[in-house]
């Protein structure tokens, strides 16, 4: 019994070209669901269809087991936070927060009570008389959130709410929104193009590209077992290194004509089915040779010192690969560097279908640490 159910949802503005193509997914009550994808992927359109601000061209949209395709936004019992906050510039913070309640003719007493609670929760009690233009970006963001909170709607939609904030504030608001959602037990659908936001906030993530669902799942699943090359390169920062694999002979294969690996039994089987294989490896899996013996030697092109970690860029037959090493490493650009790459950290994709053939097989043992 899912809370929101989309069946074959399709959207097109002009006949012929579909912006969204047969979208199917469900969202559970109390879930933090993130829609992520590059700009133009249709994620905002999808959210606006759920809100009722855009018509559904085809398909069935259900909320609470009821079909809501035809319902106007106000009858869907939801709240929404817009990218530019959509605060009324001529109204004070207090009037902005109460706008919806007054529209719905909630009693004065109830309005007062909810305003007080919300303002306290969002830390806005001292700003109630101010106009939006007298507030900082973060405070405006809080007013927009307060409007959603005060409506007490069980479902909240957010359309890139943090994209107008600076990096520091964004990190802080990520935590606040997450906490708010848990505290109020909200079902939250959150649209973003930022995969870091998606990974850090979502209970589940849906990756969207070109109007099609790429993968739906938990953040860690998306990271460890990306369903295709798009998800593999979209999720994770720096992005996954991708190289073309070429089988030299029965015992070894070459990536980008440079890195040679032995052919294991799993790969042999996979190679029977898939002609061309593309290999992906996460930056943290090109490792220093402290605990392991060097397997390969690569030319360092660039070094970025971040203090707590060091990002290295290598030239692998014309393509830039990155590695992320914890700690500080005194390495000069232009040198050859010995690294350790384990065959089991490689993910394999079919070059034609771009689908995952075999995920990296490290997951359960060393990386995830259960408490």
């Amino acid at each position: 019994m899912s809370y929101i159910e989309l069946t074959d949802i399709t959207k097109s503005y002009h006949a012929g070209k579909n912006i969204l193509e047969k979208i199917n997914f469900t969202i559970e009550k109390g879930e933090f669901f993130v829609l992520v994808g590059p700009s133009g992927s249709g994620k905002s359109t999808l959210l606006r269809m759920i809100a009722g601000l855009e018509n559904v061209t085809d398909g069935i949209l259900k909320m609470n087991q009821k079909i809501v395709n035809h319902l106007p936004p106000k009858d869907r019992n939801l709240s929404m936070v817009f990218q530019n906050y959509a605060l009324y510039p001529h109204l004070s913070v207090e009037q902005n927060i109460l706008f919806g309640l007054q529209a719905k003719k909630v009693s004065k007493k109830e309005q007062k009570k909810r305003l007080k609670e919300t303002a306290e929760m969002m830390g806005l009690s001292d700003f109630l008389d101010r106009k939006p233009r007298q507030l900082s970006g973060g405070q405006r963001q809080r007013v927009a959130l307060a409007r959603a909170v005060v409506s007490e709607a069980p479902l909240c939609l957010m359309d890139e709410p943090l994209s107008n904030l600076d990096a520091k504030l964004r990190a802080q608001m990520r935590v606040e929104i997450r906490r708010l959602q848990k505290q109020l037990g909200l079902t939250l659908i959150y649209v973003t193009h930022d995969q870091v936001e998606a990974m850090t906030m979502g209970d589940r993530i849906m990756v969207l590209n070109d109007g099609e669902i790429q993968q739906v799942g938990k953040p860690i699943t998306l990271y460890n077992e990306p369903a295709n090359l798009f998800v593999a390169s979209f999720i994770g920062s720096p992005k996954m290194n991708i190289g073309k694999a070429e089988v030299k002979n029965t015992s070894c294969f070459l990536i980008n004509n440079t890195l040679s690996f032995p052919v294991g039994p799993i790969l042999q089987e996979a190679l029977k089915e898939h002609k061309d294989i593309v290999v992906g490896i996460r930056p943290e899996h090109i490792q220093p040779t402290t605990h392991h013996e060097a397997t390969h030697s690569l030319e360092v092109v660039n070094v970025e010192q971040l203090g707590n970690e060091t990002t290295l860029a290598f030239d692998v037959d014309g393509e830039l690969w990155t590695a992320k090493w914890p700690g500080q490493w005194d390495i000069m650009a232009g040198h050859q560097l010995k690294v350790y790459i384990s065959e089991e950290h490689l993910s394999f994709f079919d070059a034609q279908t771009k689908q995952l053939v075999r995920p990296a097989s490290f997951n359960s043992q060393e990386e995830v640490q259960a408490i």
Binding site: L78, S79, H90, G100
Partner: protein, 312 residues
């Protein structure tokens, strides 16, 4: 060493000051060059005539407009005692009262419906704003035929409903109304366009947010559209009032100030005084009075309006 540095900086300082002054002088000359065309045009067509009008208002003149006898405030005193001028001021204010609110209300209504996203709305927007492209003279002649006592469309309509015909332009109780209707019709194009522009520049997210919040159509109109439109409305009201005070063309063509001076608005009265009666002194005095009235009206508006208007 510090002494050397000090003397050096002293010289440098003087040089620095000199260059700065030179630079500022150059900037000033450049700025004046840019302003020159406007200064010349305004001086010839605005500042000089204004001063000349003030000067003339204290004189009696001959038929060619040359001042003959200085009479001080006499022109003004005579004017305020003249029942014709009092009537003129009264009908001007009545005219403003009839035209301005109606123009604004009708244009606002048209702008709001033309702001909806409907098929073929461009056609209606063009129609509603087309009044702007018609000259006052052409529009007046057009209305002259509509108001015609026997073949006029308005009287034909009245006739079909078996109502008594109205002599629109010759009946003292109807002439002012007839001129007002004409003026409203002529002004709608401009005010409509400005108001539509104001509506179009509004952020659509505000309305979407209000939709999600459960606001109805009229609630949105009252709480969002009108307050957000207030700067535009304020501008339109100010301009329409000033325009109404300066109405001339339609009066000249439709009624020539009659019947019984019912539509003898100040500007028309100035024209008659100067070019029919050749009383340039008295006409100048009327012009000054009109100027002061408009000035006061505008100041009052700004004083009252600014508080209510929301600027972004």
């Amino acid at each position: 060493m510090t002494e050397a540095a000090a003397t050096l900086s002293q010289e440098d300082y003087i040089l620095f000051e000199q260059t700065k002054r030179k630079h500022r002088y150059k900037q000033f000359i450049k700025g004046m060059l840019f302003l020159l065309p406007s200064i010349v045009l305004f001086s010839v067509f605005l500042f000089y005539p204004l001063l000349r009008t003030i000067y003339l208002s204290f004189f009696l003149t001959d038929a060619s407009g040359a001042p003959t006898v200085f009479i001080g405030w006499d022109n003004f005193v005579t004017l305020f005692q003249s029942s014709i001028f009092q009537q003129s001021i009264k009908s001007t204010f009545l005219f403003v009262l009839y035209t301005v609110p109606l123009t604004i209300v009708v244009s606002l209504f048209l702008a709001i419906i033309a702001n909806e996203k409907l098929r073929g709305i461009g056609f209606f927007r063009t129609i509603f704003s087309s009044g702007m492209g018609i000259s006052v003279a052409a529009a007046s002649v057009f209305w002259l035929y509509l108001f015609h006592p026997t073949i006029g469309f308005l009287n034909i309509i009245l006739d079909t409903f078996r109502l008594e015909k109205i002599s629109w332009l010759t009946d003292p109780s109807w002439a002012l109304i007839a001129i007002s209707v004409t003026t409203i019709w002529m002004n709608i194009g401009f005010t409509f366009l400005i108001l539509l522009g104001g509506l179009q520049s509004m952020d659509k997210y505000l309305y979407e947010s209000a939709d999600v919040d459960g606001a109805g159509y009229f609630y949105k109109l009252r709480r969002i559209t009108i307050p957000m439109l207030s700067p535009t409305l304020f501008f339109v009201v100010t301009v329409t009032i000033i325009n109404a005070f300066q109405t001339f063309g339609q009066v000249d063509i439709l009624t020539q100030g009659g019947p019984q001076n019912a539509t003898n608005f100040i500007v028309y009265s100035i024209y008659r005084e100067a070019f029919t009666n050749y009383q340039f002194g008295s006409a100048s005095a009327q012009a000054i009075i009109l100027f002061i009235i408009i000035l006061i009206m505008t100041i009052i508006q700004f004083k009252l309006g600014e508080r209510k208007v929301h600027y972004q």
